[in-house]
């Protein structure tokens, strides 16, 4: 199993959710995060005190997947979350050792 972590632009969340549902990915956890890669921040000004704000709001999606779902999921995310501009985000894939469904006790693939 794999844990797929995608950091995307916040306004793309609905598109990504829909795209993932279409390829059969049924659950996800979403967090609001801040971050930057190559995208420049912006300047805020308060009565002459100028601040450069590097950290931009992003959305992080975590999905637990079977190994054979990973490629399709990555393609779906890239298509849905991409705008072609700097700041579209990144996808990371981690090994997932174990998964448990709390209600039933099912493990691993049965829990996904």
């Amino acid at each position: 199993m794999k844990l797929l972590i995608a950091v995307i632009k916040p306004f793309k969340l609905d598109d990504v959710r829909d795209a993932l549902a279409e390829v059969g990915v049924q659950g996800m956890t979403v967090t609001e995060v801040k971050g930057f890669g190559r995208q420049k921040g912006h300047t805020e000004l308060y009565r002459g005190a100028e601040y450069v704000v590097d950290f931009l709001p992003k959305t992080k999606i975590e999905i637990a997947l079977d190994d054979d779902q990973v490629e399709t999921a990555i393609e779906a995310i890239i298509k849905a979350a991409g705008t072609g501009k700097i700041g579209d985000g990144k996808i990371f894939v981690q090994e997932l050792q174990q998964a448990v469904r709390i209600r039933t006790g099912e493990t691993d693939s049965d829990a996904l």
Binding site: E44, L45, Y46, R47, G48, A49, Y51, V53
Partner: protein, 426 residues
């Protein structure tokens, strides 16, 4: 005539009796207006100024600012009643040119006491709201790092040693009044006192940790705008109420106050737009405050055209002053009390002389030049008195209980450290 008609006629006549008894002294319309203005000016502090400042500080300090404003309102109210009203408006006997006296615990002020055409109780209350807002304004300078106990002591001593005497000089029959110093609603008594106290406090207590390199943006600009809006509305009580009558003087004061507010807002906004490319909401509301502070001393003496120029000048002058103090001098008068209120008050006092005598001003009893000099004397005297006494008071407090919280406490935030509370549980 029927019994019903006789009774209604008799009750009508009886109801008119109290008015005929007081007709020569207390005027109902004046009283009603000053009562209303009192509420408006208290509203400027609670919650106007409180919200304005609360939104400008970081979230971890939001309650500390609200607490300070609230506690100042309470403390000043009691001190005003116990001693400060008498010091400001009472008869100081042989010292009356410098300070008043008497009326301790409001003794001698009863239902029948009159001040001008209003009950003295109403005058007492109206003036109290001015006394309240002055130290509350100064809170902006030492926000996010001052100890609450120190703030309470400062407020009490400031009231008795700075506010009350200066108030007496200008409005209580003291030496500035004798000189013909013109300050309609508190350019010196309120704004210079607050601004200078703020600057001295900022210098003594020191900059916030991390200033100016660490970003400390306002945590809630919506609160700032809400508070600023309340200040605009409340200021009608501040300036138009200072006419102490319900009539043409109040009407003109309201007009010039409003025009200066609008002009100051647009002037600051324009400066920012030109300089930085985008107008900000903090800029427009600060310009409004600058316009209002500057028109305050002039509000009973100038005409609408003069007010327009006063407002524009306020927006521009205070804008550049704020940039200078913050960016060049790097003094952490956190909420710019000195450059907006202090300088605004000074500018307004000087422009009073100019525009009372020109552009449909309401007239001067002396020449513009002579009045200008008188205004300058008042400005300098108030500034020096306030600066010296605030220095002494703050140093004294610092040596005894300490003015500032520790570095760790400042980092954690005053709400938790001083008040054991959180502003937001989200």
């Amino acid at each position: 005539m029927s019994i019903k008609k006789v009774i209604s006629l008799a009750s009508g006549l009886l109801l008119m009796l109290p008015m005929t008894v007081y007709a020569d002294e207390v005027n109902g319309a004046d009283t009603a207006w000053v009562l209303t203005s009192t509420a408006l000016v208290l509203f400027m502090t609670l919650p106007g100024l409180a919200l304005f400042y609360a939104g400008l500080v970081r979230a971890k300090n939001v309650l500390s600012v609200l607490m300070q404003c609230f506690a100042i309102a309470c403390t000043v109210s009691i001190i005003w009643m116990v001693i400060a009203y008498g010091l400001a408006f009472g008869d100081g006997g042989s010292l009356n040119k410098i300070v008043g006296g008497g009326k301790i615990l409001m003794s001698g002020i009863g239902l029948d006491s009159v001040s001008g055409t209003i009950p003295e109780t109403v005058f007492f209350m109206f003036q109290m709201t001015f006394a309240i807002i002055t130290p509350a304004l100064a809170v902006g300078a030492f926000a996010e790092r001052m100890k609450f106990s120190a703030l309470l002591w400062f407020t009490a001593l400031f009231m008795v040693l700075v506010y009350a005497p200066v108030c007496h000089w200008v409005w209580g029959g003291g030496w500035l009044a004798d000189l013909g110093f013109m300050d309609f609603a508190g350019g010196s008594v309120v704004h210079i006192n607050a601004g200078v106290a703020a600057l001295v406090a900022a210098l003594i207590i020191g900059n916030r940790n991390g200033f100016p390199d660490t970003p400390m943006p306002p945590h809630n600009m919506t609160l700032v705008v809400m508070g600023a809006s309340m200040l605009w509305v409340g200021w009608f009580g501040f300036n138009a109420g200072s006419a102490l009558t319900a009539g043409s003087s109040a009407g003109m004061a309201m007009v010039v106050t409003h025009i200066s507010a609008a002009a100051g807002s647009l002037a600051w906004m324009a400066c920012e737009w030109i300089r930085y490319g985008k107008p900000s909401v903090l800029g427009i509301v600060t310009g409004m405050v600058a316009g209002l502070a500057t028109i305050t001393p002039a509000s009973g003496y100038v005409g609408p055209a003069g007010a327009l120029i006063i407002g524009i000048s306020a927006g521009v002058v205070c804008y550049f002053a704020t940039q200078y103090v913050k960016r060049s001098l790097k003094i952490d008068d956190s909420l710019d009390v000195f450059t907006v209120h202090g300088l605004g008050g000074m500018l307004g006092l000087l422009l009073t002389a100019v525009f009372a005598a020109s552009l449909d001003g309401l007239g001067l009893e002396t020449s513009m030049g002579a009045q200008f000099v008188t205004q300058l004397i008042g400005i300098v005297a108030t500034t020096i008195w306030c600066a010296v006494l605030c220095f002494i008071i703050l140093k004294l407090i610092d040596k005894t209980i300490g003015l500032r919280v520790s570095t760790d406490e400042e980092t954690e935030g005053l709400d938790i450290v001083l008040h054991n509370e959180r502003g937001y549980t989200l």
